[in-house]
């Protein structure tokens, strides 16, 4: 154990990859959280209106909406929020660590608002009609602005994941430089606009469900409010999206135009048109408000809007997972002088990628003809599986497809040795790190995989000859 790097035990999800696990949890969370933040403001607005115009029936609607929020948004949102964190922890422990070690206090401040949000949504629900309207309104506005505050914070952290923004952060280490990225405001405004479209859609669902319980006038009023806010949300959100796009780092734009499939854009564009059309119709006439149209629209937002958006966000960050210094495969690839962080690449090149990892069995650290293929599989899992299915031919950018037809290990080696180098590697993928014999082992594994039809077991077995028992029980 001459050189050691603080890697953690690797978690490998065959086929779809750990990235997909994060994406699913994140999609649920984004839908739930944007619904609830958007709704908190819409409801505070409606409550003000109810109070000013003396329309008590609006409160009945608010109460129903709050219950829907509690049951849907708060249950799933507050669990999937830590869920993103949990899944990112096991998929990218050193990425999440980098974020936490920079932003722990900012996150802690956000937590103060989380607690406010969760307690207030219950308090609002239980005290509606039991305390005077003025007091309730104040709680409602506190709730609304406090909820929105959580978005102010998380957007800064998300922007940092993409890029620390200003180059000078690497030398100043100033948290303000890292947090208020160039795309902070467009990003914040974009989400803040779209959230009204999301909350408005579910607002229409709820309105249509209680049509019989409220007067015609109140019903129309509510539908109009939801529709106008929704239309504004879609249009402004799209304007801000354009602005957001223009502030992305160059490498992200390159990725958007090269590896993000075009049909993703088509989906999102079609969805925006659909949501807009739906709101326009309901604004024209409340007759168009139907559960069996509004609810499917809401579900489509999930599948056609947010899921592709999350996938794109993940893709344009590549090859990094955080702050343009930690790669997806957990290697710190760049110095951050301000924090005393050193690139680990030189150590790995010199000592070997497997040798520096404490969780690689001793029997794979030195490569021999017996363990070459297994060592190669370990390298593939450790270094490539964040973005590739390395043991099969389906799912996430499968190796079997990327190396189709390459059954000769020398051919694979010659290809990779010229492609995944610091000079030639594509912008979306890190270059290979490790010793030459490790690249040969990886190549041998790939050739073996391809020649076996593109699928092998994910299990790693250290050949008996190479096994060296480790101390301990």
């Amino acid at each position: 154990m001459e050189h050691l790097i603080g890697f953690y035990p690797m978690w490998y999800v065959p086929s779809v990859g750990s990235a997909t696990v994060i994406a699913i949890i994140a999609t649920i969370h984004v839908l739930a959280s944007h619904t609830s933040v958007g709704a908190s403001i819409l409801l505070a607005y409606l409550a003000t209106k109810a109070h000013r115009e003396n329309q008590p029936q609006i409160y009945d609607y608010i109460k129903k909406y709050l219950l829907a929020l509690l049951v849907f948004s708060y249950v799933s949102g507050s669990i999937t929020g830590p869920g993103i964190w949990f899944s990112a922890t096991v998929a990218n422990p050193r990425g999440i660590s980098a974020l936490i070690h920079n932003f722990v206090w900012v996150w802690a401040a956000e937590w103060i608002w989380f607690v406010a949000e969760v307690t207030l949504v219950y308090i609002l629900y239980y005290t509606l009609g039991r305390i005077d309207q003025k007091s309730w309104l104040r709680l409602a506005w506190t709730f609304a602005i406090g909820s929105w505050a959580t978005m102010y914070i998380i957007v800064g952290i998300l922007s940092f994941m993409l890029s620390p923004g200003h180059e000078k952060w690497f030398t100043t280490g100033n948290i303000l430089d890292a947090f208020y990225n160039k795309n902070y405001f467009p990003h914040l405004f974009m989400r803040s606009a779209y959230m009204f479209a999301i909350a408005g859609t579910i607002g229409l669902v709820i309105a249509s469900l209680m049509k019989k319980d409220i007067s015609e006038k109140v019903y129309k009023d509510i539908v109009k409010t939801m529709s106008y806010w929704g239309i504004g949300g879609v249009i402004l959100g799209s304007v801000f999206f354009g602005w957001y796009f223009s502030t992305l780092p160059e490498r992200s734009i390159a990725m958007l135009t090269s590896i993000v499939p075009t049909w993703y854009y088509a989906l999102i564009f079609a969805l925006l048109l659909l949501v807009l059309a739906h709101f326009v119709l309901t604004a024209i006439s409340p007759r168009f408000v139907k559960v069996h149209t509004a609810y499917p629209v809401y579900l489509l937002i999930f599948f056609l809007g947010i899921y592709p958006e999350e996938k794109i966000r993940e893709t344009i960050r590549k090859p990094y997972i955080a702050g343009e210094f930690v790669w997806v495969n957990q290697v710190i690839a760049k110095d951050v002088p301000a924090k005393g962080i050193k690139s680990e690449v030189p150590t790995i090149q010199q000592a070997g990628f497997l040798a520096v990892n404490p969780f690689v069995p001793e029997g794979l650290k030195r490569i021999t003809p017996e363990n070459e293929i297994m060592a190669g599989k370990a390298i593939a899992i450790l270094q490539c599986s964040g973005c590739h299915n390395v043991t099969g031919n389906s799912g996430l950018r499968p190796f079997a497809k990327k190396f189709e037809g390459m059954t000769d290990k020398n051919a694979v080696y010659n290809f990779l040795a010229n492609y995944l180098t610091p000079e030639n590697h594509p912008p979306y993928m890190p270059y290979f790190v490790g010793k030459d014999e490790e690249l040969r082992a990886l190549s041998a594994y790939v050739a073996d995989l391809v020649s076996k039809g593109g699928r092998v077991s994910a299990r790693i077995e250290v050949p008996a000859q190479n096994q060296a028992r480790i101390d301990g029980r």
Binding site: G6, T89, V90
Partner: protein
């Protein structure tokens, strides 16, 4: 002559013994150095942005708060299932109330759990990430099962008119919550054995268990004493508080309220006795080499808990009036448990020379100020919101609580504070962006 042979053998064996233990000791010392080095290289090179001891303090305090709501979640469900088996009206009514308690508690347990998770990961990142990743798939299942378990609880709540359905959903829910608690227990417990992680992950050097389905260590007494028995105890205390709070509300009925309090005091006492036993067993089964058993923290926690059990015993006489003192005793007791629990971690990692007090620090002052400001504003805002909820709860059904002049002013202040916060946050952002990019 025979004697001589025996002596010779004795010498031979003892020499071998000494040699053997030297080898073993050497290996242990050597291994300890290796493990220590591993832990240190794992610690994030960015360092902590603030003094580790502050992180530690916040972690311990917020964990204690997290657990209070975990306990009322699990305890509320366990007791509601018991109450549902009884035919009497009071029990049926109690069961519905407990499900409601549990429902709100889970939300709070989840949201408060975020705080220790944050602070913990700053100073104990090597422990948390290694252990979570050893059982990565279970770590994901934590989220999935919690989600399902919480929805079952909501079903139990919506179906509260039907005893059998409510019971079914409650049982499903509590089983899942207990399992979720087990997963987080495993992650916490495994993290205390850095010397075995590599061995666990590689199955002794033969493979790499990257599937994440392994569970490598758990500790039944720790689980019982941190989750199951305190759940009963604390929910019992909560029932006493219910009697105290609602006893004054006419539409609830004094008789029912004091019946709940009396039952609660019984539950609290028996629960605390079991908690005490499991606590002793927990301490007794901590590996001796860690030096925790005889430590002052263990002894103090035992003494404090014994006193707490005493108070719980006496509280049975007049449950309503002793509910607040018992709550205070329980708070102190919980803090001592939280401190002991942290000490176990300190002691276990000290074996390898890991100390959070030596964690690299990259001091940064702006973001702690943000946190401090937010917390102060937030506390005022919570106080206002809880106070209004408290007043609303005291007002009989059908009546509206009219806020006083002071309460109105507090309400204005609360809206003002949150707006001010938002403006400062955006304002600072604008300044930074103009300076950096325009």
């Amino acid at each position: 002559m025979q004697n001589y042979a025996v002596q010779q053998n004795l010498v031979r064996w003892s020499l071998l013994g000494i040699l053997g233990s030297m080898l073993l000791l050497g290996k242990v010392v050597f291994a300890a150095q290796d493990v220590g080095r591993m832990l240190k290289t794992m610690a994030d090179p960015a360092g902590a942005p603030f003094f580790p001891v502050v992180m530690q303090l916040l972690q311990v305090l917020t964990w204690a708060l997290h657990m209070v709501f975990v306990w009322t979640s699990v305890g509320g469900l366990l007791l509601s299932i018991y109450a549902l088996t009884k035919k009497e009206d009071n029990y049926q009514r109690l069961a519905r109330g407990l499900i409601e308690l549990s429902k709100v508690s889970v939300s709070l347990a989840i949201v408060i759990g975020v705080a220790p998770l944050l602070f913990y990961q700053v100073i104990y990142d090597p422990l948390w990430y290694s252990s979570a990743n050893l059982s990565a798939s279970w770590y994901i299942m934590f989220i999935v099962l919690l989600l399902v378990g919480y929805y079952l609880l909501w079903f139990a709540y919506f179906r509260r008119a039907s005893t059998s359905q409510s019971m079914l959903f409650s049982i499903g829910s509590v089983v899942l919550l207990l399992f979720v608690g087990f997963i987080i227990h495993v992650v916490n417990y495994q993290s205390l054995f850095p010397e075995r992680w590599v061995q666990w992950y590689t199955s002794g050097g033969t493979t790499m268990n990257h599937h994440g389905w392994g569970i490598y260590a758990f500790h039944p007494f720790r689980y019982l004493s941190l989750l199951v028995f305190p759940s009963l105890t604390v929910t019992g205390i909560f029932m006493m508080l219910y009697g105290w709070y609602f006893g004054k509300r006419e539409d609830i009925g004094k008789e029912y309220a004091s019946w709940v309090a009396r039952l609660g005091s019984r539950v609290a006492f028996y629960g605390s006795a079991l908690w005490f036993v499991s606590h002793i067993l927990h301490i007794a089964t901590i590996p001796s080499e860690w030096g925790v058993k005889g430590s002052v923290f263990s002894i103090l926690s035992i003494v404090v808990m014994a006193l707490f059990v005493g108070v719980a015993f006496m509280a049975q006489k007049s449950p309503v009036s002793t509910s607040i003192p018992l709550l205070l005793a329980c708070t102190v007791n919980t803090l001592f448990i939280a401190i002991l629990r942290e000490y176990i971690r300190v002691a276990s990692t000290a074996r390898f020379g890991y100390s959070i007090y030596e964690y690299k620090v990259n001091l940064e002052l702006l973001s702690p100020m943000l946190f401090l400001g937010t917390t102060l504003g937030g506390l005022l805002l919570y106080a206002y919101a809880w106070w209004m909820a408290y007043q609303a709860g005291r007002t009989p059904k059908g009546k509206v609580y009219e806020a006083s002049e002071t309460e109105h002013r507090l309400g204005d202040l609360s809206v003002f504070l949150v707006t001010l916060w938002a403006m400062v946050f955006i304002g600072v952002g604008l300044i930074v962006i103009v300076r950096n990019y325009v």
